[in-house]
């Protein structure tokens, strides 16, 4: 299948203690082409005097980001994080230990920005900014999915994601970016989504889905797009329009909206929830991409904004949208007020599709026939950015309970994986943070090892047949790498696929089948 070995399952759960220096040094993603760079405001190629420019950029970021300044200073090398990263577990490369990954940048910080590093570089492990360092950054800062698992376990909360975002921004600013992220960011800013799917193609696709749902349920469920005056704008990852199992999730949302009787729409201008600007640490791009959603909301005049199943997109939406685009509540400056006046603040802004569905379940507005999912035993993969970078509901940890409540409402057979691998301690799928590209397949497969081991454990002990997720990247990654571990690729499901399949809509074929034809039982 490929020119590398899929790792063997270890005794589960286990701690790696064997180091293989430079085991994944060769795994470096394609460098962005000049066009990809320039489209999003970076120099096309490595600039003259780039070493100096990189150091200056580091200084600028240090003055703009407290996280970076504090985290570079505070690490005591206690070792608590060293065994926590899935890429380290899967590769044994010591530079994939969170602290060692941070040190790739910290060593340069110390050389240029600390007294100890200026005068005693050897003593504190400081080094000059050289080509070798740049290449090492390009490799290892693209072997971090910014999942923040290390930050949970660090006594100071040091978040390697913040360091890797800074490193990527520095590389971008000197003209040495990553092709995958930067190419995609160009597309979302010109066409409206990561895939470069233009409006008409999108409409045709959505019509097909409508036909499919009608065939299945007998109901004319709509997936509207660009409807002015709709109440709800749905912002969902564009993978929901074309990839499996994402599509089934989208049809699930459509059924829930239909059953709730709400007036909703997609936007062709902002047909993308993903915002890869976060992965490359670019505040200006983060803002630009989020502002497309702001503009769509203003143009369509919607009152609510709901976000589909996507991990990092939900982190951006939940944690950053209010900051970068005024999409939220409580803003009292001119910029924020313009949109916030229009929105209905009796609902959370933005709201996750799982929160939306959960509210309907609590109000008893949805009827489920769980038997539809009886051929499955389901487990749930907490997506890292949802678990550790956002929230759902009105209390800390709602992001763990609400998706599980949805699955339990629509399935009889649900099992959780080992506690050390879920919720706040969840393992990344291996493909997050801008790594979901074919040129990084080896690190994606190896990084999935801890999740695959935990999955294998419940497959063996509880006969789990499917794993549900709420992230477009997780779904795409698992569909691709499950076969490497001898699991079927269709083992991964959208959470709203389970919801959609068990949902018994009023007047649907499913309802008639359950209640009998012509019977006017309404319960």
């Amino acid at each position: 299948m490929a020119d590398f070995q899929t790792p063997e399952f270890r005794q589960f759960p286990s701690v790696p203690n064997r180091l293989q220096a430079d085991a994944t040094k060769h795994l470096s993603p394609f460098v962005a082409k000049p066009d990809h760079q320039k489209n999003i405001g970076f120099p096309g190629e490595l600039v003259d005097n780039w070493e100096q420019k990189a150091i200056e950029k580091m200084g600028e970021l240090l003055s703009k980001y407290r996280s970076l300044q504090v985290y570079l200073d505070s690490c005591v090398k206690c070792g608590a994080c060293t065994d926590k990263c899935h890429y380290f577990q899967g590769t044994s490369d010591p530079k994939n230990m969170p602290v060692a990954r941070q040190d790739l940048l910290r060593s340069v910080y110390r050389r240029y920005y600390t007294i100890a590093g200026k005068y005693f570089p050897k003593l504190v492990g400081a080094r000059d900014m050289t080509r070798e360092v740049l290449d090492e950054w390009h490799s290892y800062f693209h072997q971090c999915s910014q999942c923040r698992r290390c930050s949970v376990f660090c006594p100071y909360g040091i978040d390697t994601a913040e360091i890797s975002m800074a490193a990527r921004e520095i590389m971008d600013s000197v003209g040495h970016g990553q092709k995958y992220c930067n190419e995609i960011l160009g597309k979302v800013q010109t066409i409206g989504n990561n895939l470069g799917l233009p409006g008409p193609a999108l409409e045709a696709t959505l019509e097909e889905f409508e036909e499919e749902i009608e065939e299945d349920t007998g109901l004319p469920v709509k997936i509207p797009i660009d409807v002015k005056g709709a109440d709800i704008l749905l912002i969902t990852p564009s993978a929901d329009f074309f990839a499996e199992p994402h599509i089934d999730g989208l049809m699930g949302y459509a059924k829930v909206f239909h059953e709730a009787g709400v007036n909703w729409t997609l936007s062709s201008y902002a047909s993308e929830a993903a915002n890869f600007s976060m992965f490359i640490g670019s505040y200006s791009n983060l803002k630009k991409v989020a502002e497309r959603i702001r503009k769509a909301a203003l143009d369509l005049g919607v009152k609510r904004i709901v976000v589909g199943e996507c991990g990092h997109a939900w982190r951006v939406a939940y944690s950053f949208w209010n900051t970068v685009a005024g999409i939220g509540s409580g803003g009292d400056d001119v910029y924020a007020r313009e949109l916030q006046k229009q929105l209905d603040h009796s609902y959370p802004i933005p709201q996750h599709i799982c929160e939306f569905t959960y509210d309907l379940i609590k109000e008893n507005k949805l009827r489920f026939n769980k038997a539809e999912n009886d051929h499955r035993t389901v487990t749930f993969h907490d997506s890292c950015n949802v678990a550790r970078g956002s929230r759902m509901g009105n209390y800390a940890g709602g992001q763990f309970d609400i998706p599980r409540a949805l699955i339990k409402a629509s399935c009889n057979n649900f099992v959780d994986m080992d506690i050390s691998t879920i919720k706040e301690a969840t393992y990344c799928c291996g493909g997050g943070g801008g790594l979901l590209t074919d040129d990084l397949m080896e690190i994606r497969v190896k990084g999935a090892l801890p999740r695959m081991e935990a999955l294998n454990d419940v497959v063996k002990s509880d006969g789990v047949t499917h794993m549900a997720a709420i992230c477009a990247i997780c779904k795409a990654q698992f569909a691709k790498i499950l076969p490497y571990y001898n699991f079927p690729m269709d083992m991964i499901l959208s959470t709203h696929q389970l919801v959609g399949e068990a949902l018994v809509m009023k007047g649907s074929l499913q309802e008639q089948e359950l209640d009998g034809n012509g019977d006017d039982d309404d319960s």
Binding site: K64, S67, C78, P94, Y156, Y283, G328, S329, Q399
Partner: protein, 239 residues
């Protein structure tokens, strides 16, 4: 010699205070432009205070992470805290009541402190992962702290120093009067190393002490949907 040590301590204290103030000032004025608490996170300010208290007083995250590092780290820090409090008796006259009270605990805490340090050092040498991430400065820091602890214990348990004279010296320093310091080996080593520690504190990883209070993943309230969080440089971009 007494004069030399007086100058050393004045210099060390000045560098310690000025360096730390500069660093804390830097952390304080550097904005955190985005909401990045590691979730699940408290949704209220009082919740954040409680989270921070658990981190500072019990090392909660470290406890979740690694029980051995937690045990050794906790022994060291609690030991050090008690020892430091006990040392207040050399700087106050008359000695405060609560300092008198903890005196016996403070003495034995020195064993916990050194044991914790040796445990951490052993792991740094024996565990390949931690050995890999260690720089010479990480070993030197442990050496420094162990030597401070051991030289202090020497004076208590092996060769007594004229502690009354030391106290007079310290009280004198605080009034800018230089009195005589006993010329005992362990004492001079102890004092020199403490001065070194104070000098390197604001330019080393010891900055983790103020650093944790400024860590955005730990000190932010999880309420981004309810309140607009905006740094000054970021607000410029809205115009």
């Amino acid at each position: 010699m007494s004069v030399l040590f007086a100058l050393l301590f004045y210099a060390a204290t000045a560098l310690f205070i000025a360096g730390l103030a500069y660093r804390i000032g830097l952390y304080f004025k550097t904005p955190a432009p985005l909401k990045i608490p590691t979730t699940p996170a408290p949704t209220t300010q009082s919740g954040v205070l409680w989270r921070m208290a658990r981190e500072v007083l019990f090392f909660e995250s470290l406890f979740k992470s690694n029980k051995w590092i937690w045990l050794f780290g906790y022994l060291f820090h609690v030991g050090l805290a008690l020892v430091l409090m006990r040392h207040l008796r050399y700087f106050t006259d008359p000695t405060w009541g609560w300092v008198e009270f903890i005196q016996p605990f403070g003495i034995y805490a020195s064993f916990a402190m050194v044991a914790g340090l040796l445990g951490l050092w052993l792991r740094r040498v024996l565990v390949p992962r931690i050995r890999y991430i260690s720089n010479p400065s990480d070993h030197l820091m442990l050496f420094l702290l162990v030597m401070i602890g051991v030289s202090g214990m020497m004076m208590k348990f092996v060769s007594h120093t004229d502690i009354v004279m030391v106290k007079q010296y310290m009280l004198g320093l605080m009034r800018f009067e230089i009195r005589d310091l006993p010329m005992d080996g362990p004492l001079l080593i102890h004092l020199t190393l403490v001065a070194v520690l104070m000098i390197i504190f604001p330019i080393s990883k010891l900055l983790h002490a103020p650093g944790i209070l400024f860590s955005p993943t730990r000190n932010q309230v999880d309420n981004p949907r309810e309140k607009r969080h905006l740094a000054s440089w970021a607000a410029e971009l809205d115009k």
